[in-house]
Amino acid sequence: MTGDLNLVLAIVIPLVGALFIAANDARPNLREGVTLATAGVLFCVVLWVLQQYLSGDRPEATLLEVVPGLPLAFNVEPLGMLFGLVASGLWIVNSIYSIGYMRGGNEQNQTRFYICFAIAISSAMGIAFAENMFTLFVFYEVLTLSTFPLVTHKGTAEARMGGRTYLGILIGTSIGFQLVAIVWTWVLTGTLDFTAGGILAGKVEGSMVPVLLALYMFGIGKAALMPFHRWLPAAMVAPTPVSALLHAVAVVKAGVFTVMKVAIYIFGIDFLADTGAADWLVWVAAFTILAASLVALTKDNLKARLAYSTVSQLSYVTLGAALATGPAVLGGSMQIAMHAVGKITLFFCAGAIYVATHKTEISDMRGLGRAMPFTFAAFFLGAVSIIGLPPMGGSWSKWYLMLGAADAHRQVILVVLAVSSLLNIAYLLPIVARAFFLPPPPEPEAKAAGAAASPRKGGIAEAPLLCVVPLCITAVGCILLFFFADAVYALLEPLVMTGGAVQ
């Protein structure tokens, strides 16, 4: 091992944390303490990397060389820095929330849950700081495998089916397409390093470029490009903190992050723009955005609706990569962070509602806003951010994507983005409206279900504090991201500069 310590620490710390969690199987308080401490330390390490990065250093580390020419190596570039910050920062919030949720719901096998969570975060760090496609792929697969026990956590037949779809699609696409694409790149260029401006220009031409791009884009199943999106709704059987992990912290973000990395550092934005190899991808992404939103409209199960919303929102990132213009790439990359904070808020709310009332269907949530005002207020903020209205962080990513679409002279895409925002309004805001403005249904069986769960008339019956505080934090985060978007912009700007695309 050679290089900067902090990058290696970012990957090792969660693993060490996992060991301590395992050792404290019988002591829940200590175990959860270890989880929180690990999350805190990890975030500090990532901040250390950030500080080093902002001061102009470029930390890098090589762990070992697996086969000659293919090292497990790490370095820092803008996109990875952003993803690392988002994932490690949200892990803290998510851990607090997990404790509230898992205890509130009396879930089984909590130790296994926290161990797998820590391993998943470790692999997310590996993905964020990967210096080459090989390293990224390795951690991508570790992430898939470490989240499988989380998805099937409940162990029911339904969970098993969900896990099957999850693993089948993610492993299937990654080995079936992505691995071929990676080896192909390796055979063509003799390198897999992420290089500014791409490595493929001049090495492959003609009709093979779109084919290779397709192998990559469909191979990154975690980006949930249609038709390989089925795993996301299937994974809804998992406990809510896992859904938050999947949708906001690590898994799907790792997917779209990889999409961006491949577009920027393997193909190169200019190469994509010149060859027009990504033209088809623009349409597939646009189709996914609209189709998934339409499906979301039809779902009554809250988590299922949010899942399809994620499928749709992820394709914004893919769209940003496919448009291959400076602002579009910026917008797509920003979307990684903005969507993360917005969507984790929504999932936290869904989980809080479930813990407090055991309700999962939207039609049952009439009038719930009076009992759970904080939760639904946070849901509202998160929803507005996902829709992309100011003053929420989400508005910036949409803004830059629209600029990018205009830059690329694709007016149709502007229409798609606008229609998508309308659809978002249609499937997200009624949930809040019904909760606040409709009277609660008369529910005789609610009293039987448990006195704590059934609110007194006019009284407040929120989920446990450990569930409510995190979702308030992330909701406030949505607002803060609007005002501090320039920091994100400044962090991401070098992407476009070195990417070479004209702004």
Partner: protein, 495 residues
């Protein structure tokens, strides 16, 4: 002083120890002797490999008789690597065998078991080390005959072991006979049995109908031995009904040695310039390998008996090895040699894990492993790890094999083949995950007495192989270096 004689010691040591085992009578003493011998063999193999890595080839003349008259052993990186695989696996399987054999084989037969095991080891090592084509046949018969007995010893648990051993005997003998017929024709044409001399004479001779016929006989004969599709029919039953330790040993070594012999004949002796070879590779090996990959894996998905499932998986994996040869480029041959090694590691670990299940539950079927994730956590974790390696997940040895195989296909410009390779490995996901789901998500069947974890003596060897799977997946420098050198030695020898 002993140094120069290592090549003969490699073969002679187990050969001499084998009859001593019969005399020992007691199973445990015989086991101890076998264990010591196989560990020494392993050490010798390491020494030989390090010599060939640094000093090139080793030529050893038996009794100091130079080749045209005497038998020569010729060791280069390729067969030194195979020696290492064979002796290494036996060094891991034997510690495991004590408990497993005590459970599966009647007390009176145990010393005979170790005798046959050592004979088999000696035979396989001899086949690998020799530079004389007829001597190869002799060792092939030694290993095969002892293998038939080893398989038949499974009869204590299941009488079907006898018929499977008999089928194996018939098929194996056919293969050996074909080989000898081919060799006879070669001898007729070249007047020599020394591999290097045959290679040189064939170069001068060029194409010739007799040589073509010899080529066909030899390829088919070895194809039978290595269970090349569609000559694989003996394998599933033999692996299923043999005692657990035997299955683990055979699956990791016997077919590997046969693949090595095929490589040696195709690449070194007949050589890439041999007129028929290009067509054989493209029109026979490539399609057969692809069919084997898909047919083997597909059939594996529907198996109830898990040993049989892994046996069919072996047929698919042999397909990968043949596929690497059929690319006809250096990367392809390297991939084959790497996969020889990695497949030995993964199949060894998987079959040994199943052996632990059999020890506790009498049989390893999809039904019997229900709920074992809780009852036998270490055994099932080893099975999952081996399975991941078989699938080719990164950070396992299987991934390295797949990487080189796909590289080889793309280098040859056969990108549809590259996609087929990864597609077939997804079939492995299905048959491995079927077991994982049942073991971890199904409750234990009603009325099953409580199951305890396998004894440490068996778990430890399993986990040694699991660790090797991970180690050679993370740091493949060593294997890739050796495999590349081996591929060069195989290809370089003929030209």
């Amino acid at each position: 002083m002993i140094g120069p004689h290592l090549p003969i010691l490699q073969v002679a040591l187990p050969l001499i120890a084998a009859p001593v085992c019969v005399l020992l009578r007691f199973g445990n003493l015989a086991w101890l002797l076998a264990l010591l011998v196989s560990w020494v063999s392993f050490a010798i193999a390491i020494a030989l490999l390090s010599q060939t890595m640094h000093g090139g080839t080793i030529d050893y003349f038996l009794g100091d008789w130079a080749p045209p008259w005497g038998i020569a052993y010729r060791i280069d990186a390729a067969n030194a690597f195979v020696l290492l695989i064979v002796s290494g696996i036996s060094a891991v399987v034997l510690p495991y065998a004590r408990r497993s054999v005590a459970d599966e084989i009647p007390a009176g037969q145990r010393s005979l078991f170790y005798t046959c095991f050592l004979l088999c080891l000696s035979g396989l090592l001899g086949v690998t080390i020799t530079g004389d084509a007829f001597n190869l046949f002799v060792f092939l018969e030694i290993s095969s005959l002892s293998t038939y007995i080893l398989v038949a010893m499974g009869a204590g648990r299941d009488r079907r072991a006898l018929t499977s051993a008999y089928t194996y005997l018939v098929m194996g003998t056919l293969g050996a006979t074909f080989y000898v017929i081919g060799l006879g024709l070669i001898y007729m044409m070249t007047g020599t049995l020394n591999m290097a001399d045959i290679a040189a004479r064939l170069q001068e001779l060029g194409g010739n109908r007799t040589v073509h016929v010899a080529y066909a006989f030899i390829v088919v004969g070895i194809g039978l031995k290595l269970a090349m599709f569609p000559l694989h029919t003996w394998l599933p039953n033999a692996y299923t009904f043999a005692p657990s330790a035997v299955t683990a040993f055979l699956a990791s070594t016997a077919t590997k040695v046969a693949v090595y012999v095929l490589l040696r004949f195709l690449l070194t002796i007949f050589g890439p310039t041999f007129p028929l070879e290009a067509q054989t590779l493209t029109y026979i090996f490539l399609p057969l390998a692809l069919i084997a990959m898909f047919a083997g894996s597909t059939v594996a998905i529907f198996q109830i008996n898990l040993k049989r499932m892994l046996a069919y998986s072996s047929i698919a994996q042999i397909g990968y090895m043949l596929l690497g040869i059929s690319f006809g480029n250096l990367t392809g041959v390297t991939a084959t040699v790497i996969h020889l090694f990695n497949h030995a590691l993964m199949k060894g670990a998987l079959f040994m894990a199943l052996g632990c299940v059999i020890l506790r539950l009498e049989r390893a079927s999809i039904e019997s492993v229900r709920g074992l994730g809780q009852a036998m956590p270490w055994t099932m974790a080893a099975f999952v790890a081996g399975g991941l390696s078989l699938i080719g997940v990164p950070l396992t040895a299987g991934f390295i094999s797949k990487w080189y195989l796909v590289s080889g296909a793309l280098e040859a410009g056969w990108w549809p083949v590259a996609i087929l390779i990864v597609a077939s490995s997804l079939l492995a996901v299905i048959y491995i995950w079927r077991v994982v789901e049942v073991a971890y998500f199904s409750p234990a069947p009603e009325g099953r007495p409580p199951v305890t974890e396998a004894p440490l003596g068996m778990l430890l060897p399993v986990w040694v192989l699991v660790a090797a799977n991970v180690y050679f997946g993370i740091n493949a420098d060593l294997t890739v270096d050796i495999a590349e050198e081996a591929a060069l030695a195989l290809l370089g020898g003929g030209s």
